[in-house]
């Protein structure tokens, strides 16, 4: 019971982990390269979600100090980190997509299994 209540209390962890597993599963099992890239983004996003959720403080204000004696702020650090993370993830996706285009030109397909077949035939 206690376990369950903890889970419900921390539902955002659960959401993040589910997303992460979906992403990882798709990435490793699907043979379509574009789907792999999408899955990669889902996986990264799940971690970003988790990070941002960690930083949130219930009832906290945005961390902008305006001189009025507020004491409770949301932790700004995860937000800053995740911004960096998003930039990195976008660049990886861009690179991966450009590779897919090249691969499509070289093999005529974006399916890993088919490529394996083509290379096996050579």
């Amino acid at each position: 019971m206690e376990m369950l209540s903890r889970l419900i209390h921390n539902y955002f962890y659960l959401a993040a982990i589910i997303l992460f597993v979906i992403g990882m599963h798709t990435m490793l099992t699907h043979s379509n390269m574009v789907k792999k890239v999408i899955a990669m983004n889902i996986m990264d996003t799940s971690v970003f979600l988790l990070f941002v959720a960690i930083g949130y403080v219930r009832g906290g204000k945005p961390p902008i100090i305006d001189g009025i004696g507020e004491t409770l702020y949301v932790n700004p650090l995860p937000g800053a980190l995740i911004l960096t993370g998003i930039v990195v993830a976008v660049s990886i996706s861009a690179y991966a997509l450009s590779l897919i285009i090249k691969i499509q030109r070289a093999y005529g397909t974006v399916d890993c299994d088919e490529i394996c077949q083509i290379r096996g035939d050579e």
Partner: protein, 492 residues
């Protein structure tokens, strides 16, 4: 002097800034661009060496990026251990680049060489920073830079094989970084820190309250770095990627890139996780067994290869496992052996890939069975290959013997003779697949059947430097060993 204080930053910034100048200069003056890259690496090497000397004299140095003090700012730590790795990274990069200058003209289209320089320097800069950073999140960013640039120096060749291998590498490495990021999140959740030192302090109490988080993080880290460093059984991407890449890229990837991840895992295991956790969890035990399997399987797979570069790539799986064994044995001497093997194997495998590259350059032959009699046609290249093989086997006088000595001694010290046998059998297996190539190359009755073009002087010089490195590593290892011995002493 003010500049001297900023050495850790300058070491990263120099290659980084040159990375963006190189292609611009390349359009105007190709040769000058190459020499500028060489010069920047040389300057970086000098700075790293100076920093190492300084740290050796005055003790570890903490550098705060932008003067933001930890735990919020990014801290770069320069202690002898990290600087050892740094010097290895820069020195090997410089040496490989020396080779790349001439070899690339042969392997790449002319207009992309300038861009290759960019990627190369980005890779060097990210690895240099990875050795020094003391911040988990910064490490993540650097790992991504490293991943993109190391994929890109494979796919820049743009033939079908490279593209496919590069994509496979990219996806698996993205999975690795995903796991790593989740691991960071787990640790951040319970400690609120990203700095190694603060994490370690916090973790010793946090383990008791949130054991699950910490354990998950540890498991995720092993998977993440295991994938990136090709620890068996997460090695599937490596053979294609390393074998199909242009030779200088193969030398860099097999020589340095996989090792930098092994080194990072080592830093995290020993500098982030508190000692008590390491003793209570079988983390090192897992690494150790995976490594032992990797040693055997890497060598066995290598034996079955017909393509020279593929064989070298599989052999890397076995050798990186030797390094992981040094980490996994969790013993001072074994650790020294493993860390020493990082340098030895970086040079050895780099040189073997260079020799393979020189063979391809001059003759276009890639198949092992076609190499009969090649030793008489290209004596210097094959001499380099022979010395490299000797170091792989661990013949006295080469660096390979010293690292194996320490690994075996460490394993024996904690009474695990089984792993001594693993180390020894790795030598034997290496002998079984390297020696026939050497023998066949020199002693075969038939003459080499293909046309042999001349190998440029630069390539030959690079090989000679490599041979000297290996022999020096085997005969005068004492200062390095002493440095490593002192550096790892405080982990135990």
């Amino acid at each position: 002097m003010a500049l001297a204080e900023h050495l850790p930053a300058l070491i990263v910034i120099t290659p980084l800034s040159c990375a963006f100048m190189a292609p611009l200069l390349y359009r105007r003056h190709a040769l000058a661009s190459g020499y500028m890259v060489l010069l920047s690496l040389l300057i970086t090497l000098v700075m790293s060496a100076l920093l190492l000397l300084k740290v050796n004299r005055e003790g570890p140095l903490s550098y705060q990026m932008g003067n933001w003090s930890p735990p919020w700012g990014i801290e770069y730590l320069a202690d002898p251990l990290r600087l050892y790795m740094l010097v290895v990274v820069i020195a090997v990069s410089l040496w490989v680049f020396f080779y790349a200058l001439k070899d690339l003209e042969h392997e790449l289209r002319r207009e992309v060489i300038g861009w290759y320089y960019t990627l190369y320097l980005l890779l060097v800069a990210s690895m240099a920073a990875m050795t020094m950073t003391n911040d988990l999140f910064n490490l993540f960013v650097l790992m991504e830079i490293c991943a993109i640039s190391s994929c890109a120096i494979i796919t820049i060749k743009q033939d079908r094989e490279c593209l496919e291998a590069g994509f496979k590498y990219l996806i698996l490495s993205a999975m690795g970084t995903g796991c790593y990021l989740l691991g960071i999140a787990m640790l951040y959740m319970v400690t609120g820190h990203l700095n190694f030192e603060y994490l370690q302090n916090e973790l010793s109490t946090a383990v008791a309250i949130y054991p699950l988080n910490v354990f998950t993080a540890a498991a995720l880290f092993i998977v993440a770095f295991g994938t990136k460093a090709a620890l068996f059984p997460l090695h599937v991407w490596l053979p294609d990627a390393h074998a199909s890449a242009p030779s200088p890229s193969s030398a860099m990837l097999s020589g340095l890139v996989i090792k930098i991840y092994a080194f990072s895992l080592f830093l995290i295991l020993y500098q982030v996780f508190p000692r008590s956790l390491l003793d209570s969890l079988p983390l090192s035990e897992i690494v150790l067994w995976l490594a032992a399997l990797g040693v055997m399987f890497g060598s066995i797979y290598a034996m079955m290869q017909k393509d020279l570069k593929k064989m070298l790539a599989y052999s890397s799986i076995g050798q990186i496992a030797i390094i992981f064994m040094g980490i996994g044995l969790d013993q001072r001497l074994a650790l020294v052996g493993g860390l020493y093997h990082i340098a030895v194997h970086a040079v050895t495998k780099g040189m073997l890939f260079m020799a393979a590259g020189a063979i391809i350059y001059a003759t276009g032959v890639r198949k092992i069975s076609d190499l009969a009699g090649i030793g008489r046609a290209m004596p210097l290249v094959l001499a380099a290959f022979t010395i490299g093989s000797a170091s792989m086997i661990g013949i006295p006088g080469t660096g390979g013997l010293i690292s194996k000595w320490y690994l075996a001694l460490g394993a024996l010290e904690i009474g695990r003779s089984l792993f001594v046998l693993v180390v020894l059998s790795s030598s034997l297996l290496n002998a079984i697949y390297y020696l026939p190539i050497v023998i066949n190359a020199f002693m075969s009755e038939e003459d080499f059947a293909h046309k042999v073009n001349e190998v440029p002087k630069m390539l030959q010089l690079a090989l000679v430097i490599g041979m000297i490195f290996i022999v020096v590593a085997g005969v005068f290892p004492r200062p390095l060993i002493l440095l490593l011995g002192e550096a790892v002493a405080n982990f135990f």
